[in-house]
């Protein structure tokens, strides 16, 4: 069975735990300049149907650290823009002997379809409003670094949950690892039916932030206003902006996170975004190390391979 990283929902707590441990360990070794096992001779394709410089760079950095060769695809000006189907694109990449695929697509579920035809591992770099698993792993590693755990934490996810893959992946990960998830936002930006999503709904920021250990803000897409979902950015900011001041409602050592790109003065004020509690830059950096772990893991390796590597290194 080929391993994929299509989402967090389909992973069990053991796999998530292993990915996080691997991510933490890769980080320590990279920062300390210590050796770690590489994945040479493998080639990974970066297939971004939606532009995303930051996510692409994070995956490329991770791939380089772990020794993978990278092939980049631009969807503009390629066969895909000439009407080639996703299936045929994926089959082409398969027989161009790529070993793994990192894929971003505007349609929920598209990476799962790609995985059916590709043969090798597929890593979801964001699909529609479905999942963004690497983001959630990076965020979790960031929380663990500060809090030492996920279990028992109260995490408030604030903003446009309905259209957010980051919200879904984080909610799955946190709840599977024993945290309590709250979804906070206006009714128009929360899914109308929450029965299958792991978290409680709060329409009001004060109750949503009450005693929270972590606040995760989501990006507000400006086009939401034209859909009649938000009357104005100013109103959204007035009701849901996380500020240094309203963080008083949260636990005293509450952490503030944002997946980026940040609309300053909308989701967060400057003080909250740049303050001591803000982990935004840590999230970016940790995103690289969990992606190293993801590559290592989808190629069938795990913690025990890392230990074996260390034994062999010691012997050599």
């Amino acid at each position: 069975m080929t391993r994929h990283l299509l989402g967090i929902r389909s992973l069990d707590a053991d796999s998530i735990g292993e990915l996080l441990r691997l991510g933490g360990e890769f980080k320590r070794r990279v920062l300390d300049g210590r050796p770690f096992p590489a994945l040479p001779t493998k080639t990974v394709g970066m297939l971004f149907f939606e532009d995303s410089t930051r996510t692409r760079v994070a995956f490329e950095q991770a791939a380089k650290y772990i020794g993978l060769n990278i092939v980049n695809f631009t969807t503009r000006g390629s066969s895909m823009s000439k009407g080639e189907s996703l299936k045929d694109t994926i089959l082409t990449l398969r027989y161009e002997r790529l070993n793994a695929l990192v894929m971003r697509h505007r349609q929920s579920g598209a990476p799962r379809l790609a995985a059916r035809f590709f043969g090798g591992p597929v890593l979801n770099a964001g699909d529609g409003a479905h999942e963004h698993p690497a983001q959630a792993l990076g965020d979790a590693l960031t929380i663990i670094e500060r809090k030492g755990r996920l279990e028992g934490l109260v995490v408030a996810i604030v903003g446009d949950v309905q259209h957010s893959r980051v919200a879904r992946s984080n909610a799955w990960l946190l709840s599977k690892m024993g945290a309590e998830v709250r979804f906070v936002g206006p009714k128009t930006l929360l899914p109308s039916h929450m029965a299958l999503l792991p978290g409680r709904v709060h329409y009001d920021l004060a109750s949503g932030l009450d005693n929270a250990d972590v606040v995760m803000c989501l990006r507000l897409q400006k086009e939401r206003m034209f859909d009649g979902l938000v009357s104005s950015v100013a109103e959204y900011a007035r009701l849901y902006q996380v500020t240094q001041q309203n963080l008083e409602w949260a636990a005293p050592d509450c952490l503030v996170m944002h997946p980026g790109p940040l609309n300053r003065g909308v989701e967060l004020d400057d003080e909250a975004a740049d303050g001591d509690r803000s982990l935004i830059t840590n999230q970016i950096e940790n995103g690289i190390f969990v992606r190293m772990a993801a590559f290592y893991w989808v190629f069938g390796h795990g913690w025990h391979d890392l230990e074996r590597f260390d034994r062999e290194e010691a012997r050599a």
């Binding site: 349609q107 579920g109 529609g128 409003a129 109308s192 299958l196």
Partner: protein
């Protein structure tokens, strides 16, 4: 030529008939039936002990795709699928390219359906309610009616303007033409891919709220009430839509409706991990809707079961869920699904089952079908169903070009084994050969 169907359970809702006996087809006409028919020297005899003998089934909602989309289905393959599914008469919707908005296109369909290469089922064309299915200008419905349409419809492009719909209803009332309406408010359903519910929330797919259907069912029912136009709501899927129709009937509006098999048997949970075989419009709903739909089938609020046959080719559905077209094939699975989920679960009696699949749709659209009475149909139309035959639905063995079925691999109890439509006889592989004999019956 005398064909004797012996010992079957003869079910004819058009005359409330439910007897065990024999039915004789002579020179492509029904010659008689009775508990023990004395027939001298039949040319062929089918022993139908344990099987149902019903009027040929009638479908109100078939997309035959020709002209314009022959890669999905043709009139020939679609009518072959129809007879294999027990249908001797299918209404073809105006979802062709160009849409059926001119008499010459109606002629074309009728000619193609009558050609020897076609499957043998009758085709009753349904005309486009508006020119080009654009929802703006009402088609030349009187000329279309003269050419042979049996109803006017906006399936595929639901009429958004209440004003246009009201005028179309006035017009159709005068022409005595039923309207087959797809009830959907596109401003509410726009961009949606599946039911707006907990599964769409989990999968991050844009939802189609139940209100998109219910608002339009209510509007169209009220317009029907006030204009007196005969309205048939095709494809109800929510409990609210059912209740609106129940209320409209109570108020005396000339309203009928049908349901597709996937809407009385499946829920949004079937979508699973983005399985495009379960992408339908209206979308698969929830267990609550299913419960009310079953109740409404039982109490008669839902008049008919329609196949909602919407074939697509493989490459059209092997795409991300959001990009896949809405619709599934249905002609060859409708009977299996109906008997499995309704008849064998006591939602419908055998007679009511046949009524919903044959007599009621024929009555609603005033078609020559749905009856075993001599002279009610141009030629004998008889469908034989083995209600206890266990089989697994597999699109490998279906006639339709479309293989997009939600029933792939599903076990059914109940199958069409014989379809007679005049001289055209479909005998399914499931019909036991030893139950057929030629020449006089041995004494």
């Amino acid at each position: 030529m005398k064909t004797l169907l012996k010992n079957g359970r003869i079910l004819d809702p058009s005359q409330g008939l439910d007897i065990v006996g024999d039915l004789l087809i002579e020179d492509n006409q029904i010659a008689g039936y009775g508990a023990a028919l004395a027939v001298s020297e039949p040319d062929e005899v089918y022993d139908l002990t344990g099987m149902w003998v019903a009027p040929g089934l009638v479908d109100m909602h078939t997309n035959l795709r020709q002209p314009g989309f022959e890669h999905r289905e043709t009139i020939a393959t679609g009518t072959q699928a129809a007879v294999a599914g027990g249908y001797t008469l299918v209404c073809c919707l105006p979802t062709t390219n160009p849409p059926l908005d001119s008499p010459s296109l109606v002629d074309y369909i009728l000619d193609a359906a009558a050609s020897p290469s076609a499957g043998g089922a009758f085709v009753a064309p349904v005309g486009a309610l508006t020119v080009g299915m654009k929802g703006e200008q009402i088609s030349d419905l009187s000329a279309l009616k003269r050419a042979g349409i049996v109803a006017a419809s906006d399936v595929g492009a639901p009429t958004q303007s209440a004003r246009i719909m009201a005028r179309a209803m006035d017009y159709c009332t005068q022409l005595d033409l039923p309207i087959l309406a797809q009830c959907e408010d596109l401003t509410l359903s726009e961009a949606g891919a599946m039911n707006d519910g907990s599964v769409s929330a989990m999968l991050g797919l844009p939802g189609i709220p139940r209100s998109a259907e219910e608002v339009m069912v209510m509007r169209n029912c009220l317009l029907s009430l006030h204009t007196g136009c005969q309205l048939h709501v095709t494809g109800v899927s929510t409990w609210g839509a059912v209740e609106m129709i129940r209320q409209a009937k109570y108020l005396g509006a000339p309203v009928t409706c049908d349901v597709a098999p996937h809407h009385f048997a499946l829920t949004e949970e079937s979508v699973g991990e983005f399985d495009t075989r379960f992408k339908t419009n209206p979308p698969l709903r929830t267990q609550v809707d299913l419960d009310i739909v079953l109740q409404a089938l039982h109490d008669g609020t839902i008049d008919c079961i329609a196949a909602h046959h919407a074939p697509y080719t493989g490459h059209e559905v092997e795409v991300p869920f959001g990009e896949a077209p809405f619709g599934v094939v249905g002609l060859e699975s409708a009977v299996g699904a109906t008997l499995t989920y309704l008849t064998h679960r006591d939602v419908l009696s055998p007679l009511e089952t046949v009524r919903k699949l044959s007599t009621a749709p024929a009555r609603v659209l005033r078609l020559e079908g749905g009856s075993l009475k001599r002279g009610e149909t141009p030629v004998a139309q008889v469908t034989v169903i083995d209600p206890n035959h266990h089989w697994r639905f597999d699109t490998q063995f279906t006639f339709s070009r479309g293989k997009n079925s939600p029933w792939q691999g599903v076990d059914f109890k109940g199958k069409v084994v014989l379809t007679f439509c005049g001289s055209e006889i479909y005998r399914d592989a499931a019909f036991p050969p030893d139950r057929y004999s030629e020449g006089p019956v041995p004494a």
